[in-house]
Amino acid sequence: MKSWKTTSAGALAIIGAITTLWFHRGALSPELVMGAATAILSGLGLVLARDNDKSSEDVGAKSQTATLPKTGPLLALALCAGLLAVTPGCSTSPPMAVYRATSTAHITVDAAMRAWGDYVAQFHPPVSQEAAVRDAFNKYKLAQLAVLDAAIGYQQAQSDGAALSQAQRDLNAALAAAGAALGDLTSLITSFGVNLQPPGQ
């Protein structure tokens, strides 16, 4: 394991999130699930990142995968948002939790996509790779729109118990799909060589 520090930290974040879900398995709420999903994605980012004392050559990266200037904030953003999302003691309504999680994901994906845009301009990857990223981006976008539709439905169903129960189920399903789509998109971009390391490391 060449980058054992970031890999260990990422593994711990993932284990922590899964443990949290396990202990609350009888009473999962949308904010808990989304918080855990964010923490798991943050952990994946750490697993994929390299330690700050490892060069590109140390980890076998090609020279064209050198750090891109706009990717630095991604890890800090994911870490910050993940920690805030899983912080206990904050009683937020499901729509508020969705608003926060979706806004954070939106900011994160914007940064990742801009980094991908820089990478395309600089290295001209194959059209097949671009098509894969565009498909993943569109899938993520549709999934997030479904989450927001479900959150709006939940908000509008507040006074109707039966409708609220269905809206909660719709929201949970949409959140699970959005979490998976977000993970697929960021993993794909990383797999094509876009580095999530802060500049200068």
Binding site: L77, P95, H106, M113, G117, V120, K141, L142, Q156
Partner: protein, 70 residues
């Protein structure tokens, strides 16, 4: 809250502020909002629906994609 967790959050926030002040400001605005309305969710939805792959990748080799509104 665990003091180690607090320091980690502060560290991450400092890094974010230093490297991406715009992203930090956007994140701070989201987390300082006391409540969320249907209009807030609809505005976020409209912002997201308006984004296209070509906006992020101006030098793409792919043909223009159709707009996705969900």
């Amino acid at each position: 809250m665990n003091p180690a967790l607090i320091s980690t959050i502060v560290f991450a926030a400092e890094q974010l502020l230093k490297e991406a002040p715009a992203a930090y400001a956007a994140l701070a605005a989201v987390f300082s909002k006391p409540s969320v309305s249907v209009e807030d969710l609809q505005k976020l939805r409209a912002d997201l629906a308006a984004e296209r792959y070509e906006d992020f990748v101006p030098q793409t080799q792919l043909p223009p994609s159709a707009s996705i509104k969900g």
